[in-house]
């Protein structure tokens, strides 16, 4: 234990550090290959999950400014589904999905910060998400044919 200015430096040994360096385990190449292969097998299930998220997102967004839905409420609901799609899209290999979802998240952020809701821009991003959905469907179909 040493003193460094106002703080004390403490050497730390955790169970994680002592066990993770044991002999054996999985090499980097093996681990990455295996994880990517496993994510590939999850694609059909991912397509179903994405359908559900899109459905929930679209139903959360009011169809026009005339609807009396509380803005805070629908924005919060839309944000949940949008974030969920953004956070997994590129991991599953669909960059367009993450890109469009990220744009929509940014729009929701600025509306939540007080800017007037740009419904046209939201509609455009939802259309981009629907386009990304087609890409996911194509990929899972190709995957199913291959297996």
């Amino acid at each position: 234990m040493t003193n460094a200015g106002d703080g004390t430096i403490i050497p730390v040994s955790t169970r994680f550090h002592s066990l993770v360096t044991r002999p054996g385990g999985v090499s980097r190449e093996q681990a990455i290959q295996s994880a990517e292969a496993h994510l590939g097998t999850m694609q059909p299930q991912f397509a179903d999950w994405l359908d559900r998220q899109l459905e929930l997102l679209i139903s959360a967004i009011p169809s026009g400014q005339t609807e009396a839905t509380s803005e805070d409420k629908w924005l919060a609901a839309a944000h949940v589904h949008c974030r969920a799609m953004r956070d997994v899209g590129a991991t599953m290999g669909f960059e367009l999905l993450t890109f469009a979802a990220n744009n929509l998240c940014d729009i929701i952020d600025i509306v939540q910060a007080g800017v007037d809701c740009p419904f046209d821009a939201i509609e455009n991003q939802v259309n981009a998400l629907l386009l990304a959905r087609k890409e996911v469907a194509r990929a899972s179909l190709t995957d199913a044919r291959r297996t």
Binding site: V20, G25, S27, H38, L39, N102
Partner: protein, 210 residues
């Protein structure tokens, strides 16, 4: 000749930048804290492919606290937006809990907000490392390997408890780099027999022809 030297140099850098060690995650207890159940499932799948066998999930900070009491967790992956008050707040609380056995647990913050302020906030809360969302398989592996093979001492100060924040990438193995104190790139020595210009030209011609 210059072309070949640079290639060798880049290979050497790539070799040291990528952790090559094996990670042995068998028997270690991981906790993934994220309100998005599908994200947790993907993360679980990746960690299992890396060799992890015991993985728990939490959807909120309350779930995390409950799991930490009920299980012996070795590694926490925590979303920066974890309800109700965010993963950084939870990290700060874990590090600040003087009597807790989890005070020094490795914590990896997962965040889709990669602005420098957020990264600094995660560091100041006591996170070991930050991973950008959406995660890629290789980035998650690299961060885990970094935490595993580069353990840092903790600093206990009046305003901070957590891994020593004064760490940096030490540069290239031969000391070559862009910093003031680094060696000049020209110090890299040629290895092996030099190729003549004709040999290089014929190789390039072959490559162009496909």
């Amino acid at each position: 000749m210059i072309l070949l030297s640079v290639t060798v140099f880049e290979d050497r850098v790539a070799d040291t930048a990528m952790p090559r060690e094996h990670l042995n995650l068998h028997g270690l207890n991981f906790l993934i804290a994220d309100s998005n159940s599908y994200f947790c499932m993907i993360c679980q799948s990746i960690l299992r492919s890396f060799g992890a066998t015991k993985i728990y999930e939490a959807r909120s900070a309350m779930d995390v606290n409950r799991t930490l009491v009920e299980q012996r967790i070795d590694f926490l992956l925590c979303d920066s937006n974890l309800p109700p008050e965010g993963g950084l707040r939870l990290t700060h609380e874990i590090r600040g809990s003087v009597s807790s056995e989890y005070r020094t647990i490795p914590i990896l913050i997962l965040t889709s907000d990669t602005r420098i302020n957020t990264i600094n906030a995660a560091r100041d809360a006591g996170a070991n490392m930050v991973v950008a969302k959406p995660v890629s398989v290789s980035s998650l592996y690299n961060r885990l390997a970094w935490v595993a093979f580069h353990p840092r001492s903790f600093v206990d100060a009046p305003t901070y408890f957590g891994p020593d924040r004064r760490f940096k990438i030490e540069g290239y193995p031969t000391g070559v780099g862009r910093r003031k104190g680094d060696n000049d790139e020209s110090v890299v020595e040629e290895g092996g027999q030099a190729m003549g210009q004709d040999d290089i030209d014929s190789l390039l011609n072959l490559a162009r022809k496909g």
